[in-house]
């Protein structure tokens, strides 16, 4: 990719003279498949399907997503459709068995002709270029999960396509032609509504990746309307031509493709900290029937992935209300990473201040934590803290924080000393200096861990495909452990009581899928 003056000249030229051609294609076999799959989904929503049916539903949905937004042929091995037609339905409940068998029939028909309807168009463009002895560069936009498939197909056919997902397209150099497969909106995040999706892809037409852009649609696509892709009010696209159908019988609501699971968060208990006053935490529903509970007040911060111009970056939500469905949370994977933090922090102190300082800092932290935990068992704990000048809210918070493994101590020295006094602990305001060193060490360690996380995210973009599914992706961070990237399905408005020790952990809803 060149980011040079030459490419800038091409981008301005492409934007100034952009051409948009739309072609609506017929594909009755795929349309029949979409219909039968929808019926199977409905019956599976109404009844409780066996696990194997759930598994096949996930495979069929994946195949649908790939086939409706990329030039992948139905028999492409990774889609597993050929295996699907051979599944033995005998053990299935009768209603599900009937729908499943219908779906198998439609897939059988789909597999009879193992080509994609857009292949003719690609071939004709290349033939025309060939006839005029012109080598053309073609950028193709496909679903993120389909990129490796289409790269392979392109290679087999000798098409030399540059295969891009929407993120990669933003960085792409301007080509002679751009082919957008399926509805442009299908290339955005699954959570975006139709209008938002249109706004997010409008740049493909008003800051295009080629001198001429072709949109190829077929059943399964949304209705095409070029007016949706203006840069902003009063700036319509100029050179637009349409051929074929712009609307299809079956539109797919991508949100309904996700199994909704329970909308009631599971009750979280922790026997080891049962005597501690729980935290009022916000339940956040994740994929795979899991939840995470977070609090603005205590526990881990809500870190999430974002993009800053073209790069993936980590942000921290200042308020949980800022989180929205579709946001990808960065969550810890069990207690992995803790040992990295501990050893990095220890090394940092050893290097900067010496081993004895490290021992002193850790000892002060442990002594303070134990003292406050012990104070929490005292029925007059709140009163004791209030006697030292804390208000009731502060007092309750401090007692809870003593059980938060991520917390060290208050930064305010006076508050630290007041709590020590209430807890009959011999530590004084001077000892807080040891904690300043410890806190700095952990911040340094945390910073290094975050840098490594972002490096790991950059190094292997395959998580993007998983996230788009949507599902949770585990990122291995060399030397640190691993972390989970989890798309949010819903943020519940009402808080629920959760043990402080469970904040930020992924919790499986044991009630199962409803």
């Amino acid at each position: 990719m060149s980011r040079d003056l030459n490419e800038t000249l091409r981008r301005f030229a492409a934007a100034e003279h952009s051409k948009l051609k739309y072609r609506g294609l017929q594909w009755p076999e795929f349309e029949a498949f979409l219909g039968s799959l929808q019926k199977l989904e409905r019956i599976c929503d109404e009844l409780t399907p066996p696990q194997i049916v759930d598994t096949w539903l996930a495979i069929l949905r994946f195949a649908r997503r790939i086939l409706r937004s990329s030039p992948t042929n139905p028999r492409y091995q990774a889609l597993q459709l050929a295996k699907f037609v051979d599944v033995d339905t005998t053990p299935f409940p009768p209603e599900i068995r009937a729908r499943f068998a219908d779906c198998q029939l439609s897939v059988t028909s789909l597999l009879l002709s193992d080509v994609h309807p857009t292949w003719d168009h690609i071939e004709s463009l290349l033939s025309a270029a060939n006839a005029s002895n012109k080598e053309i560069k073609i950028n193709t936009l496909v679903a993120k999960g389909a990129v490796p498939f289409v790269e392979e197909i392109s290679k087999e056919h000798g098409w030399k396509l540059t295969v891009l997902d929407l993120t990669a397209a933003k960085r792409a150099d301007v080509a002679d032609l751009a082919l957008i497969f399926g509805s442009p909106e299908l290339h955005t995040h699954w959570q975006d509504d139709f209008d938002t999706s249109s706004r997010k892809v409008a740049w493909l037409f008003n800051a295009p990746i080629a001198d001429e852009t072709h949109v190829l649609s077929w059943p399964g696509s949304f209705k095409f309307d070029a007016k949706r892709y203006t840069a902003w009010e009063g700036a319509p696209l100029q050179d637009v031509s349409l051929s074929g159908s712009t609307s299809f019988v079956i539109d797919v609501n991508r949100f309904t493709e996700i199994s909704s699971g329970s909308s009631t968060p599971p009750a979280i208990v922790d026997a080891s900290t049962g005597h501690i006053e729980p935290v009022q935490a916000t339940p956040i529903k994740l994929t795979d029937n899991t939840w995470v509970f977070l609090s603005n007040e205590v526990g881990p911060k809500a870190s999430y992935l974002d993009t800053d111009d073209f790069n993936v970056i980590e942000r921290v939500a200042k308020n949980l209300k800022d989180l929205t469905p579709g946001t990808v949370l960065i969550l810890r994977d069990g207690d992995t990473g803790r040992s990295f933090l501990e050893s990095e922090a220890a090394n940092w102190i050893d290097e900067k201040h010496g081993v004895s300082q490290r021992k002193k800092s850790v000892a002060v932290r442990n002594e303070f934590r134990s003292a406050v935990q012990e104070l929490g068992r005292d029925q007059f704990a709140i009163k004791r803290l209030k006697d030292q000048g804390l208000d009731e809210g502060q007092a309750r918070r401090r007692l809870r924080l003593a059980h938060d493994p991520l917390h060290i101590a208050p930064e305010d020295k006076t508050e630290f000393a007041a709590i020590c006094k209430a807890a009959n602990c011999t530590l004084t305001e001077e000892d807080a200096a040891h904690l300043v060193i410890l806190r700095t060490a952990y911040r340094q360690a945390g910073h290094r861990a975050r840098v490594r996380l972002l490096e790991a995210i950059e190094a292997d973009p395959s998580w993007q495909v998983t996230i788009e599914t949507p599902a949770q992706a585990r990122i291995a961070i060399p030397g640190v452990g691993s972390t989970i990237l989890a798309p949010i399905i819903a943020v519940l408005p009402n808080t629920v009581p959760v043990p402080i020790s469970r904040l930020g952990h992924i919790e499986k809803d044991k009630k199962g899928i409803t």
């Binding site: 009010e233 881990p300 993009t307 111009d309």
Partner: protein, 318 residues
């Protein structure tokens, strides 16, 4: 695509945008400052064409220096721009540098810019390098007065606010290398400045242009109160993140690259925010080429409400 000898239409238009916008006066407290949002297919290189246009315009008239006020100004004794104070001279038309009592200047022609209260003490710029000095001396009519010409431009700088400062500087270098003929001799000289200090906020008023990040003013009230002649913000995201009072009275050009997500927010904002009417002649001069779109609005200059982004109590984070 070969680099054309003459600048393409879009480059000329951005040059014109810079020169026209640089004439818009600075707005004082409670005034309404102009914000021009330009939607582009790529923001690359456009920033430097705008700056070149702005620098082609004679800077606004500066103030008359007073005794006991701190100013950024050309210090003949140091042969560079410094923060200086003045003492009275026996000649009422002259004023004396406190740090160089033997040196006096005429009050009505010496370029100075008052520095806000709280500006770090003892700020000192670097002298223009020999190459830059030679370039400036070589400009028509500036053989002996190049320093004052240069100082006037430094004291009314154009500020870029955005992410990727090195990336922006690379574009400047590439433009000067590959398309020098797109610029006037004056612009080439001013843009050639390569002191590596143009991203240091403490050097504000010491260079003809500055490249700063959006959070630069969050904890620097003195910087927020400075008065550049033009601010170019390289994304809508940077515009919304920057402190509201940072250079608030200066006209702003906000570039929104349509491939960048925040351009959608800009579009939504502009669809509901009342569109201000640019002066008719300005509107006519600024009709953009197809593929570039322009809207504008006005923003009231409000009282500075203080620093933002306080340090919260932080614990261990992974």
């Amino acid at each position: 695509m070969p680099i054309p000898k003459n600048p393409p239409a879009w480059a000329n238009w951005f040059h014109e945008l810079g020169s026209q916008t640089a004439t818009i006066p600075f707005q004082e407290l409670s005034g309404e400052a102009q914000r021009i949002v330009v939607s582009v297919p790529t923001g690359q290189f456009t920033t430097w064409m705008v700056i070149a246009g702005a620098l082609s315009i004679e800077p606004p008239t500066l103030e008359i220096p007073q005794v006991d006020t701190s100013y950024a100004t050309w210090s003949p004794g140091d042969v560079k721009i410094n923060d200086c104070t003045f003492a009275p001279h026996t000649d009422p038309n002259r004023i004396v540098f406190v740090d160089h009592p033997g040196q006096s200047v005429l009050t009505d022609s010496w370029p100075v810019k008052a520095i806000p209260e709280g500006t770090p003490k003892n700020r000192s710029g670097a002298p223009p390098g020999p190459e830059l000095r030679d370039r400036l001396r070589g400009l028509p009519g500036l053989k002996n007065s190049w320093h004052l010409w240069y100082a006037r431009r430094c004291l009314s700088p154009v500020v870029i606010i955005g992410d990727g400062r090195e990336y922006l500087q690379n574009q400047r270098e590439e433009l000067l290398e590959k398309a020098p003929q797109w610029f006037t001799d004056e612009a080439r000289a001013l843009l050639s400045e390569d002191s590596k200090q143009t991203s240091n906020p403490e050097r504000m008023y010491f260079h003809p242009f500055m490249v700063l990040h959006a959070a630069v003013g969050d904890k620097k009230p003195w910087l927020r109160a400075m008065r550049p002649r033009l601010v170019i913000v390289t994304s809508w995201s940077s515009y919304t993140r920057k402190h509201q009072s940072l250079f608030a009275g200066a006209p702003h050009i906000v570039l929104t690259n349509r491939r960048v997500a925040s351009a959608i927010d800009a579009s939504s904002f502009l669809s509901i925010k009342e569109r201000s009417v640019l002066e008719p002649d300005l509107q006519m001069k600024l009709t953009p080429p197809h593929g570039v779109f322009l809207k504008s609005f006005r923003e009231r200059v409000l009282l500075d409400k203080g620093d933002i982004g306080g340090d919260e109590e932080m614990d261990i984070e992974l």
